[in-house]
Amino acid sequence: AAAATAAAKGNGGGGGRAGAGDASGTRKKKGPGPLATAYLVIYNVVMTAGWLVIAVGLVRAYLAKGSYHSLYYSIEKPLKFFQTGALLEILHCAIGIVPSSVVLTSFQVMSRVFLIWAVTHSVKEVQSEDSVLLFVIAWTITEIIRYSFYTFSLLNHLPYLIKWARYTLFIVLYPMGVSGELLTIYAALPFVRQAGLYSISLPNKYNFSFDYHAFLILIMISYIPIFPQLYFHMIHQRRKILSHTEEHKKFE
């Protein structure tokens, strides 16, 4: 969910987004060249499609099973594939075809990848938890909107509805995602402790120790300073960008 929100700040995915996150006109720098633009359009279309596959997969599994429990298993593979694929977005920033900070994008994508692989995949007992569904739904809706936003921006043809959705739905989706993530990590704790997962204790010849259980608790604590900052930044962005467009519409 951290990724969801900061993504709405205008990082990751495809370019076509100038400084303040308003892609419809206030472009100060020149955008990516034609080849990079074509690549980014393809990238963002593929990602939109991928997350739609996940969305459809969830709906079909729900209808087939008749319940919303343990739906994770039906979309596990595309979820892993497309969320991990987002690592490319770090590369996009690094080579400059997307005008976002490498550090910020890395942080966002890594936090998602961490949740998918180092928590949900690694602690099998947690995969049937309802909290997993909570963040998967939040991420799915967010990403479908985000990647289509980038696609349209790159093509200079952004429907107001997409812009509105991107800067409004987060109000519910972000807390929803964060709740799902925190509950999942919390559910994983006893199993991590029991199995000593990813942990190393003294003595050993490299004189190093790592307690994954304690690390996960630290991660959960870190949500406390980070979540409000990102959330209120998004609220601020929303006021700036949506009112700006309203004014433009008045003068048309």
């Binding site: 003294l202 003595p203 050993n204 010849k205 490299y206 004189n207 190093f208 120790s209």
Partner: protein
């Protein structure tokens, strides 16, 4: 002799902050900063950035008014650099911390390890040696700060002290915890490994000190001149033939030596992080040398001979 008039505007708001008349043509920016402080005492000279263009580069303290591209009424733009702290203060604080903190772990002060280990001593020679090396390293740094280094800038932003101290103190505690732990495992290759590592450490510490002395001798006390450093009679300085910043090269070497000596992963990680930061600094320094001196020796690399 005609006098200048200097008006100082806020770079962001363009508000007129100060008007100085009868300014000497050969007045320096430093002197103007002192004049500016009088009506605005909260903006002491170290926190003033004065420039000719609101978005341009800061003027240097040594720049002379009549040599600047201004008319007899000069307009300067002011930016507040924020609270400043002297480099010396920052260095002393960030180095004193690790020295003290490591010793807390070495002496196994209560509440770090289990109560049965309070104030006990390690039975491994290497642990005592490591304490001597670590302490020596930071004492050397403190003494160099007080007596050797000649700083170009007096101050840096205040927030840096929090950032820097977290880094140095945090890593010192992390390393010291493991090296002085009752369950510490000495190096795999025993005394041989420790002797080799100690040799590397000592050589690199001597090297690092030699470079600091050579750099100090390049610049007379109180001046801010910059010259190309060259090898001297001291063999440790011959590394200048191959790198621009051999002080960083030797520093990385010292920490690699310490890592081999203690065979402790956190030490290796600290060395890696330090190496990354020093490489960034070395590349910057190297670029400045190249820009400033046409005849800069082409064989030199920033930090690692021939490679980086």
């Amino acid at each position: 002799m005609k006098h200048y008039e200097v008006e100082i505007l806020d770079a962001k708001t363009r508000e007129k902050l100060c008007f100085l008349d009868k300014v000497e043509p050969h007045a320096t920016i430093a002197e103007i900063k002192n004049l500016f402080t009088k009506p605005h005492p909260q903006w002491y000279p170290a926190r003033q950035s004065l420039r000719l263009d609101p978005k341009g580069k800061s003027l240097k303290d040594e720049d002379i008014l009549q040599k600047l591209p201004v008319g007899t009424t000069a307009t300067l733009y002011f930016r507040d650099l924020g609270a400043q702290i002297s480099w010396v203060t920052v260095f002393l604080t960030e180095y004193a911390g690790p020295l003290f903190i490591y010793l807390l772990f070495y002496f196994r002060v209560p509440f770090i390890y289990g109560h049965k280990y309070d104030f006990t001593s390690s039975r491994h020679t290497v642990v005592h040696l490591a304490c001597i090396c670590h302490s020596f390293h930071y004492v050397k740094r403190l003494l160099e700060t007080l007596f050797v280094h000649r700083f170009s800038h007096g101050t840096m932003p205040l927030r840096n002290i929090f950032k820097n101290c977290t880094y140095y103190w945090g890593f010192a505690a992390w390393m010291a915890y493991y090296i002085n732990h009752p369950l510490y495992t000495p190096p795999t290759y025993g005394a041989q490994q420790v002797k080799l590592a100690l040799a590397i450490f000592v050589i690199c510490q001597l090297g690092n000190f030699s470079i600091h002395m050579a750099l100090r001798d390049l610049r007379p006390a109180g001046s801010k001149t910059r010259k190309i450093p060259y090898p001297t009679k001291n063999p440790f300085t011959w590394l200048f033939l191959l790198v621009s910043c051999p002080n960083y090269t030797y520093e990385v070497g010292s920490w690699i030596g310490f890592a081999i000596m203690t065979q402790c992963l956190p030490v290796a990680l600290f060395s890696l992080v330090g190496f990354t930061q020093m490489t960034i600094w070395a590349k910057g320094k190297h670029r400045s040398y190249l820009k400033e001196f046409r005849d800069y020796p082409p064989l030199r690399m920033p930090i690692i001979p021939f490679l980086l």
